[in-house]
Symmetry: D3
Subunit: 157 residues, 6 copies
């Protein structure tokens, strides 16, 4: 099993994608934040309040996805061509599931960008609700699907 | 229940901490990444390999924590005075638990910085193992404890 | 008349505030964007649409204000303790006036942060409406008031 | 009228340009800062002083244009291939007009980059003169012309 | 002799590379830090200690190279496709030589990215050893070789 | 000899300065770039040309110093209160020596900020002259003096 990000002396490196083709690549990641009933109600009870909390998360996700190569040391800078965020309300468990889909026409995949977008959006919801609930948990940050590139497509079962 | 980050017109705002005292504040957050057996073995089997993968995550956590106020829209810029990362290997479930502890002498707490550090470190492990396993899951990103400031201490049960 | 940002050889410098006192400082800036009737109607006609356009501007203003010392070469890094954005709709001229108020307890004023916040928010509205109207004009970016610090208070007449 | 930056649920999104062609695109924006007679004279009276104030603005414009996708939430990261700044002195009104021209061979236009460059440069002039005059006004930030891309050319009348 | 980064009025500009071809470009830079015997021994004597000091430098080099266009005002944003760092221990002079090799398929060379990576890595070693030795010197930061692009290849003699 | 930036498990950490006093701290660093006679003449022969090349370096130094905690992984974010750059022309060896002096009232020293400022400024000169000379060498980046803080003052002999 190959640790692609280590060189022959086990030092981290940015993987060489210089000669890879520019192809259309797409990735969707998701993640969940579970909050207290009180925090969920504070967001939901007033439709004007749901707006700003979840919209701030959407915007933070998009801006976070664009910062991926600054945050994750071995990630390549990439010209993301599309970022879309969806939020599913989970009233039964008091939580939110955030989806981020990223596209690119380029030399390497965008799963880290989708995952970083999810992570940033969930942290933003945490931040905006933390005065009500400090025991919230972020969970199930994961790749949902991925297409394009030589390594083949992926779809979570 | 008060959404502290919304103003009287339900617009997001950065909470006013201008008149709060500078006190010593500390927060510890944690989170887990579950990886495949193969990925876990690739990291573990050779002690020189564990070094660079986990060290890169440590460094990314520290740098990520410092970027919190750029990433999370309503977070205040803060003069973090200490960031420490610990990684617990979880051989039974094939995973890693990352702890980030942040300290500050200032006007507001550092839980978001600890959580952002955890999140960035786990994403970095994901990035370095994703050629082996695309189904890894990041979970249980949560505040462990928090002290300092007027809102009182928190310790996860 | 003294150009405080130039040294004895007319080179730019960051002004030395090392020995200034930490005092409470506050500044409010404003600015206007004039848009076409069509663009204004597209935002207004549906209350759910006004939300995301103007909320995105609010969030961009807050994040922009925090980036001031990276953007404006001679600005000091500052620990902003409050950022608040207001948007006034100007239906008679088809436009929006954005106000940003920034606070700090520190050694130098925050007028550049308020102005940078205004500027970033107005550019964000421009960006979100530019598919409808390319002739929009941003105008009257100016300091409204300022308090704290040795140089005295300012209030625009 | 279509708000291109909102998705079907009125959430902000980064517009999908994945399948657009790479074409040569160019945009020029301009803006004005009006300063007091005293501030204008302080800059002008000594040719060595005009240098550093206006040169700092030029450099800030170029660096600001490169930060557009970090500052304006829905902007795409872009590989700008040329940034040129011109400053016109306006002795009759005591002010400066700044022009920024940006070029790109890519999938989307560069008007936001030109406008952000103008805005950053004008704010920099403000910063360097604010010890003399706090009532300066930034005005008429606008697109002058734009070429390339499917939406057609624009030239301000 | 042409100062390519100045325009017809001697103002700095970002050189126009809009019509240059995308070709494979590569550059290697190097630099040395000389440290005290004590600092060198502190790093070397324990193989587990050499790991984190030099690995942190490797990671900082890679992340620094990616920040080149933010740091060096006239540099173009570039889609680096490979960054590799090597560190040569210099036990005779008590020092380290750091090599950074950067690749790109694009319109302009990557020598500044290689040099910025070297510089950031050496500063990181300095930072981690400065409690032991404040008289360390960084020297011989230079381009080793460069290929690709119209200006021809370079190889240091 | 203590590697202060490593924890008990030899992992990098940001040193804990939470309980240190805020004192006035100052550091000056310097460094040299040697260029070809041709490059030196291109800058010198026309006084208007020296302006933009060296001024761009000054501004890049100041902005680079402010980015230190983003670039150097274990550096603390700091509220720099003064940054001043001086450039000494070295006509005998065809080169420039750059000095950066940084001040702070805070909990830890600013030598890394001064060194990072020097490094960024020298790289900027390199960038602006590299079309003329690719064999330039940056050398002798070093701390000149340092005061404030518990570890005592330093002055290079």
């Amino acid at each position: 099993m190959n640790l692609t990000h280590l060189d022959e002396n086990n030092k981290p490196k940015m993987v060489d994608v210089s000669t890879k083709d520019d192809t259309l690549r797409e990735a969707t990641a998701s993640g969940v934040i579970r909050v207290s009933k009180e925090a969920f109600k504070a967001v939901e009870e007033n439709s004007t309040k749901k707006g700003p909390v979840l919209q701030t998360a959407v915007i933070a996700s998009i801006q976070g996805a664009k910062q991926t190569s600054s945050l994750i040391p071995m990630c390549h800078p990439l010209l993301l061509t599309s970022i879309k965020v969806d939020i599913e309300e989970l009233p039964k468990i008091y939580g939110y599931r955030l989806y981020v889909t990223v596209k690119l026409r380029g030399k390497t995949g965008v799963e880290m960008e989708a995952l970083t977008g999810v992570s940033t959006g969930l942290l933003t919801i945490y931040d905006m609700l933390k005065a009500i609930d400090k025991s919230m948990v972020i969970e199930n940050i994961q790749l949902e699907k991925k297409s394009g590139g030589k390594s083949g497509d992926f779809r979570r079962k």
